[in-house]
Amino acid sequence: MGTYLIRRFFLMLLTLFGISVLIFVMLRIVPGNIADILFDAAGMIDVAEKAKLEHELGLDQPIAVQYVEWIGGLAHGDLGYSYVSEKPALQEILPRIPITAKLAGLALLFSVVFGVPLGVISAVKQNTGLDYVLRVVSLSGLSMPAFWLGLLILMAFVHYFGTIPIYTDPPKDFWSALWLFSIPAAAVGFRSSALIMRLTRSSMLEVLRQDYIRTARAKGASNQNVNYHHALRNAVLPVVTVIGIEAAFLMGGLIVTETVFNIPGIARFLVEAIKWRDYPIVQNLVMFIAFVAVMINFLVDVLYAALDPRIKYS
């Protein structure tokens, strides 16, 4: 296990290095830089002034030099300055992480709490009325676009309650935070729970047909014991994989939800930073999201062994 962990650690570093090169080069391939955007916003074309600004920001240096400077700074905890706000990038990025983490965490909780049990019920009650209803619900969750569902929820709130659950100020306490994040989390979690529900159902159906399940029933084990102890534990491995993928996606991919519910999280900030070609923000944010994704994948791998003792790492 120890060797495996060390190997995985170095593999993680290699992956992050690859991502850093990719994001750095890709950003510079996209036409225009911050100077272009700033001058465009001012409707100006002063070439000399633009060149001066590019020089000030170090954008006229060779890409390799810029890359080394960035990685060197990153290694020392210096993320540079936002080109737009002119504040330290860390100061801009840090406050947004808990916002997205809360939203993503709640959405994941919603999707697991609803997705796994309903998937099990759907499999156990296969081809019954309840199974059909749950299948329709899960298909709806997969096919409804998040922006549409989000706007529908907002419109319903305005129409029926005369209020709107959007982020305008930081929540003051735990309960107001829970209220603020639970509605967008439910909108996002609905899609994720639908995915988890369908996967749990198909995985459970496969396991329920296995000989050892029949043996357990023959030995007089209760339905609950068979379904949740014997079957679910073995069916849950692919579900854990998907939960891991969903968790990584939720950290950086909630642009639509953050936009509709006006949540100042990571994804919206990233899109805004790309629009301004705010390289220090984009590079560091993408690296953070990549780090989270890599870590989650690693945790999922470790969890496999805990869930299924037959899996051994060497």
């Binding site: 225009g32 272009d36 465009d40 600004l53 936002s82 504040k87 419109m155």
Partner: protein, 530 residues
């Protein structure tokens, strides 16, 4: 029984009258919540060129002089003193002297003096040691020789040639006075002004917060405790937030006619105004590139335009036909309708198109052999939509055009390089004054003269109208120039759009300017009747 009802009605009316009388008295307190359409690049007004900056930032600053914030039509006649108490011209109209208000303090406690005025204009002219990152209105002050300080309470602007309308630029929301002791860089991140509101913070994608300046030199003002702009870029969410009462006001001039209708349906108490914003949509033709270097072809293109149908399709009728200056009644200097009708492309559309087809046939084009072109424009809906209609209208005169959407960041650079055939552009005028519009957009060599139109004879008229002190005489000259610009197909104006602003009925003393979108956001005497 009837008399009882009458008595009740009278009592209700009397109560309403008392309540109106009470509410007419301004109240102190409350935070005005407005949604903002985007995070502005900074709140340093001098470095930016969008009213996304002016709207939240104007409350932080003061000018020497300012357009009266409660007269919707801004003009030289509506200018009132602000940091200056009075102004006077020398006999030769070359020196403009301002007496300055004493006892005014910057938000950080320093005293405002004439040196701050000089520093501001030195920065704008690039003469100061400190520099702006960008200086989009440097050209406004080309005619300014120098600013001299005569003690703490007086400054004189020395002009190179007489320019009576110079004060129009000083009165713009674009011309606040900056403090000498604060760097240009700090003004971008934490602006210091003398205005009714102090800057608290700006968080990207979240909010901009301003708080009441308790030491404001206008005693008793501002009425509001502060203004908070919540940044809501998604328009659907923003409209719902307004309807639900999460914000008291929409972002100024951000509502289309359809959205305004939607708001009124959902909240009939909302107060909404649709007005011109002095931003025109125009056609730019690269006159250096064949075959567009042929004036006949450019003439045919101008004759193909059906402006009314464009306004109906794109703006649901909320737009105006005009020349390079905003048309009356809201515009002060625009060509009147009777003169506009005589210009190519502004009369009978069918007849004009027949003329255009005749020109095209003469040039060798026909339905079977159309002229194939590209219409380039910024990849934004406000640009793309009219470009699509334009392409459709070109088809009527044997022009087969293809839309080329250009990434926003590359647009001005592409136009400046002349790397386009035909383009569609939007031009916003900071003030409703011919000097700004003519020198900026049509003068030979001007940075924003995207089509490189150059008429030296006309430029003499630019100077002549600029120096003219008689308003009626100046207007005559301005119309003559505008007609010539349109006849030369320098940059055909497709339409001047109108847009809307809505606020809740308890927001009082709110005035939306009708010939500018850049000058009316001081909000010092806006109050909340709550």
């Amino acid at each position: 029984m009837r008399s009882k009802y009458l008595a009740l009605a009278a009592a209700i009316l009397a109560g309403a009258a008392v309540s109106t009388a009470q509410s007419a008295e301004p109240k102190h307190g409350g935070i005005l919540h407005i949604y903002h359409r985007e995070t502005p690049p900074s709140l340093s007004i001098h470095e930016e060129a969008t009213f996304s900056v002016n709207a939240p930032a104007m409350g932080i600053y003061n000018n020497l002089i300012i357009y009266d914030q409660h007269k919707p039509q801004t003009s030289i006649d509506t200018i009132v003193p602000e940091l200056a108490t009075s102004w006077s011209w020398s006999k030769d109209n070359l020196n403009l002297t301002f007496k300055l208000r004493s006892g005014v303090k910057w938000h950080d406690g320093g005293a405002f003096t004439g040196k701050d005025v000089k520093c501001t204009f030195d920065l704008l002219q690039g003469k100061a040691q400190d520099k702006f990152r960008k200086d989009p209105r440097k050209g406004w002050y080309d005619n300014l020789g120098d600013v001299t300080v005569n003690g703490d309470d007086e400054v004189t602007f020395h002009l190179k040639r007489p320019q009576p309308s110079f004060i129009a630029m000083l009165a713009s929301g674009y011309t606040p006075i900056y403090p000498c002791h604060v760097s240009a860089a700090q003004m971008r991140t934490h602006p210091i002004g003398t205005g009714p509101f102090k800057f608290v913070e700006m968080k990207q994608n979240e909010s901009i917060k301003l708080v009441r300046n308790p030491d404001y030199w206008k005693k008793g003002l501002p009425y509001l405790d502060g203004i908070e702009y919540t940044i809501i870029p998604n328009r659907a969410t923003a409209v719902l937030a307004f309807v639900a009462g999460k914000v008291d006001m929409t972002f100024p001039t951000e509502m289309t006619a359809a959205l305004e209708k939607d708001i009124k349906q959902q909240d009939p108490t909302a107060v909404c105004e649709i007005k011109p914003i002095n931003v025109n949509t125009n056609l730019i033709v690269n006159r250096d590139k064949p075959p567009f270097n042929n004036p006949d072809l450019r003439q045919a293109m101008a004759l193909s335009l059906d402006r009314k149908s464009m306004i109906d399709i794109i703006l649901q009728g909320q737009g105006d036909m005009g020349g390079s200056l905003l048309p009356p009644p809201e515009g002060v200097w625009g060509l009147p309708p009777d003169q506009l009708k005589t210009l190519p492309g502004y009369g009978d559309v069918q007849k004009d198109r027949e003329k255009a087809r005749a020109i095209m046939t003469k040039l060798g084009y026909s339905a079977s052999n159309p002229l194939k072109i590209k219409v380039s424009t910024r990849n934004l809906a406000t640009y793309r939509d009219p470009a699509a209609v334009l392409i459709d209208q070109f088809k009527t005169i044997f022009i087969d055009a293809e839309l080329e959407p250009v990434e926003s960041s590359a647009w001005f650079a592409k136009v400046a390089r002349g790397d386009y055939q035909v383009g569609l552009n939007l031009t916003g005028n900071g003030i409703d004054d011919p000097d700004q519009a003519f020198y900026e957009n049509y003068a030979c060599g001007s940075e924003r003269n995207y089509t490189h139109y150059c008429n030296k004879e006309l430029e003499k008229l630019f100077d002549q109208q600029s120096a003219e002190t008689d308003i009626a005489m100046r207007k005559k000259l301005v119309w003559e120039i505008d007609k010539k610009i349109q006849e030369d197909v320098a940059r055909p104006i497709l339409f001047h759009a109108r847009t809307g602003t809505c606020w809740k009925p308890y927001v009082k003393n709110m005035t939306i300017e009708s010939n500018s979108a850049y000058n009316g956001y001081r909000y010092e005497d806006v109050w909340l009747d709550k």
